[in-house]
Symmetry: D3
Subunit: 244 residues, 6 copies
């Protein structure tokens, strides 16, 4: 469920096998810490990963297991050369004084030695502001915790109409309503069901249409639901309407 | 799941039929808004509720549907008299300027007319600080939203020992550990598995014991899990250790 | 005195008989709470008010005495129909969680049932920011407390010139001065009485003139003072100069 | 009216002739700035004041007119010697960087030269926190502006009972009430008029009594009102009950 | 050292004899407080200063020793007339409630009496924000304390390259670097020494050049260092590049 | 000068040769980063340091040059065993997310492997609050920047007495004074020189004495100045009087 929500919300890929299957996508990821811990050295782990995995899997090596991210990255780059796709910094919080400075220093050192092709990924407890603050110097992010839950949306299933007559508890707007959106995706206030015309979008002037559809009838689904790929595409197409 | 978590966390009862069954408890609750909306009047709804429900169900009447909580409560109290167990204020936020003052006023008016036996309950978007601020003047609370989710606990399943040798990623304490608690419930820092004695609780001096138990062996549960009632009792017995 | 100050400061009307007489205006107002309290019901009070008052008095009915503003307003609107000029919400602070939402909900319910002609007024402890925050959805305001006093203007009657010679306590500018204002109403710093030309307004470049006039001579008023209506008109004409 | 309110609130004296007469007290005060401005020098003004005023008037000389408070005070002290009762600093705000330091410096300089008997008074825009912050080093204060107005007490004359039956608008406690205070002056919550016993003070346990008295009957005052001196004494006797 | 740093940083002059000599400038300043204290009066001190000092020294008189700045300034202006160049307010903090108001009042009083030529200087614990807040109404400032120290610049002399091979401690960028600035003075990030072209300024597009020069060779200075006057000129020419 | 100030202020030792000589103390310190950079490996650097330095120099090894502090410390501890006195963490700020957690983890790992004797030192931009927050888990600190400057003490050399007569600028207390301190080191307000008795300490009641001494007479030093060791001892003996 988490993988599906992350994917249709716009993430590029998911890492669990089951989640990827449910989306009809391939799972993706990087070398795990356990490989380095078992082999006892980051370079040995990188070489073993490089030797045994299918060639279409990009070689992304974790560089925060034993040593400093800078030194380990340079050792791995020298060992794998052009075959190294990228390094991933899962730096623990106790060592993460200024992750931006660490990435800038790493980029400098890689470039100075001719490893401009090595990409840098960061993971580990990143949230929205951190991603926004780092995206100009990074090639990708691995996000877990901050995608694994969401704030509760407080709602109630209130009665607003009885046998065609609008009636509601105080504090609720009575009567059946049309839920509206404009063609450019802006939210529009609902209007009574009986209102003749939904008018134009107060924000952009575009045409407004009702979004309520009958999906179930007598307990039967009337139509196939869209694929995760279609939902994700729709979400991404709507994002510009929510930008500041 | 939500009902179970709320119950073992200390709540007195739950309102869904399924949740109560899973706990082997009776579900409990009050008159719903829909009854008043369908019958068109709070007093009629209260009388209908009173007439048809088994006598062991406490008569708790919602008084925020149509009118003001004070006027509706007095009307209901005059209609049901001694049979009225309590009133419930689910006042919407737009009318909730100072819920404490509303309750104090309602208590005054009920008492002034001889309805000292009528209890007052409040529900609707209450959180911990609000419950703490109102508990001295109320007889109970109905809590929904703020119990229906919990903040994510960020954790990782790290390797800390390989074939008896402590080894861990930087940022993690290596080696198998004993998880400890003192007899009075205070949390105690973990120590290495091989350490001889867990010592005494640094907070209260009580005896410390390891809390790790083998629950599964070869995929089989070794023992029956405790009942929700037993877990709830244990939780409540531990609460004093967490008070300030 | 308060009515006069409120009126010349721009208010549309005043409610006390004495205050209105001193201004040569008609007092105005709405149904009082006492009418509903004595008759025991808001609709009865509205009907009695409607039956007995001269037809030129607008029917504005208080809807916060016993019930919720929404329910009471709909009952009154159904009883008086087209003769209902408006409803007034004097909602007490303990029930005023979000007065804007209450008004929006009330507007929705009135419109839904064809009562678009019913105006909505709010009173009760409103101050400047609240009026500014509500004026787009309301038809008028009843203001009391926040007009019934004003912050003290700290001033002293200091000697600044003795027999034509400027002399003043330290901390005061010595010498007789010209008090100035520009033709568009902007305040202009005073200059010495003997200064030849007051120059142009530093804010807008308009002509500047001295505002000091001799009103009393040998204890006699030289001219009739302007009427409250004239002062109010002058105040309103100056307001644009103080807008941000 | 202002003088009376200040006096019964605990002030030691008032400075206007009319205010003092209405209290059957003597007005009191110090040399004005105008005397120094007309005579052109603080010492000349002090000597003139000393020469012409009745001997029972304390010689308190304003020392902020022309020069620095320190230098002027020393000049006046040398001129009047033992006859100088005190100096008053009405230092304007533009020169009042740290009035406490000015007073400490002045006290030092007066004491160093043998003028320990000269008292120091401060006036000019002082409010409660400033008085509290200075009272340990000063002999008295002259207060004007901060006593010349008071915040509005928001109240309404609501109907709470009709022909013996409690009834009130929502938001108001219905029924006639006893207003209570404990014998030590603590405020106590009102109780219904018909309640049998007011009980003991919840703060200190002292006896509680009703404070409502019939003062007017058929338009006639039943008893003489207390003198300002008696009211002031009562106020001062109650102050300890309001201390933190 | 302090005088030199202040001068090359843009100050107009310095007041110590030694500091001025080291800069090959004339020291400058005003009458000291000791002159007024010894002669016992500000006007006597001003007249003595005027009588004995070479005519090219501007007559700037301290007016805060004994009396108020306003009264003393007028006395001095009347005594010295056209020969008075300016007055200096070294008002102590305990008398400095609003130095801007004191200066405005003083300017008013001087102008009112025909002393438009008298300049006003302020000294005494001024810092950058105070200078910025007063510069529109003053003719100059005397700055001491806030120029007599500077925040520590934290730096370390790290090894970044050994025998032509870049190597550095983690946290430091390795390799010899070019320090760059653009022709308009903007700071530009350093680049590796071996990089071919420094490119253009990212802020303004101007040409970028390396600023490192060989000053010492075999322990010998290769060129004469610039004069303080040249450094100061260079500093002032760069200031616009740092403005917001 | 900096070393002397740090030493007499209570530091245990200084690291520059010249500073130590001026104090007649031995300089002390740890292995530098350059040693590890030149030899290319922390363990090699530690072994070389151990092999060549006199045995009385404690072996304190820098562990932040190339790798993570935890991994490097364990490698060094295994290489030097009992001869390792301690490790020093000069962790750069970009890697210093939570230095307390790093030290706790390091202590855990060292203890787990039997290296309880290895001390942990931290250096690098530490200030007073950081030292206070870490002192319970550390064996020592290396402090540089925050000891290399001090806030300016604003003072002026004012004339306060001329030929035995107290006279001072406004804002200054006139007259020669006794500077006082109580026997327990508390600061006591100065009193006039001619005052008979300094009285007792207002804070603790101890005896008060004057601290002014004649050190120079006719340009000659009357007595030898105390040694840095004596001053440091005096400072440390006074510290308790300044504790909260």
């Amino acid at each position: 469920m988490l993988d599906r929500a992350a994917y249709i919300g716009g993430c590029d890929g998911v890492s669990t096998v089951l989640g990827a299957e449910s989306l009809a996508e391939r799972h993706s990821g990087t070398m795990p810490h356990s490989l380095a811990l078992i082999l006892g050295d980051t370079v040995k782990a990188a070489q073993s990963f490089d030797k045994r995995l299918p060639s279409e899997v990009p070689r992304i090596v974790l560089v925060d297991t034993f040593g400093d991210e800078k030194v380990e990255s340079l050792r791995v780059a020298q060992a794998l050369g052009k075959r190294l796709h990228g390094v991933r910094l899962d730096t623990p919080s106790s060592r993460r004084g200024d992750i931006r400075k660490i990435v800038e220093e790493l980029r400098w050192e890689l470039d100075l030695r001719g490893f401009q092709h090595v990409r840098i990924y960061v993971s580990g407890g990143l949230d929205e502001p951190q991603v926004a603050a780092l995206e100009d110097i990074l090639d990708g992010f691995g996000i877990g915790t901050s995608l694994s839950n969401a704030p509760v949306l407080d709602f109630a299933a209130d009665i607003v109409e009885i046998e065609g007559k609008p009636i509601a508890k105080k504090g609720k707007f009575s009567g059946r309503k049309q839920a509206l959106r404009c063609e450019k995706g802006h939210p529009v206030k609902p209007i009574p069901w009986v209102a003749r015309s939904p008018g134009a979008c107060p924000l952009c002037g575009a045409k407004v249409f009702g979004v309520l559809q009958t999906l179930l009838k007598n307990g039967k689904l009337l139509d196939a639901l869209p694929s995760p790929q279609a939902i994700r595409k729709y979400v991404l197409s709507q994002l510009p309407a929510f930008a500041l």
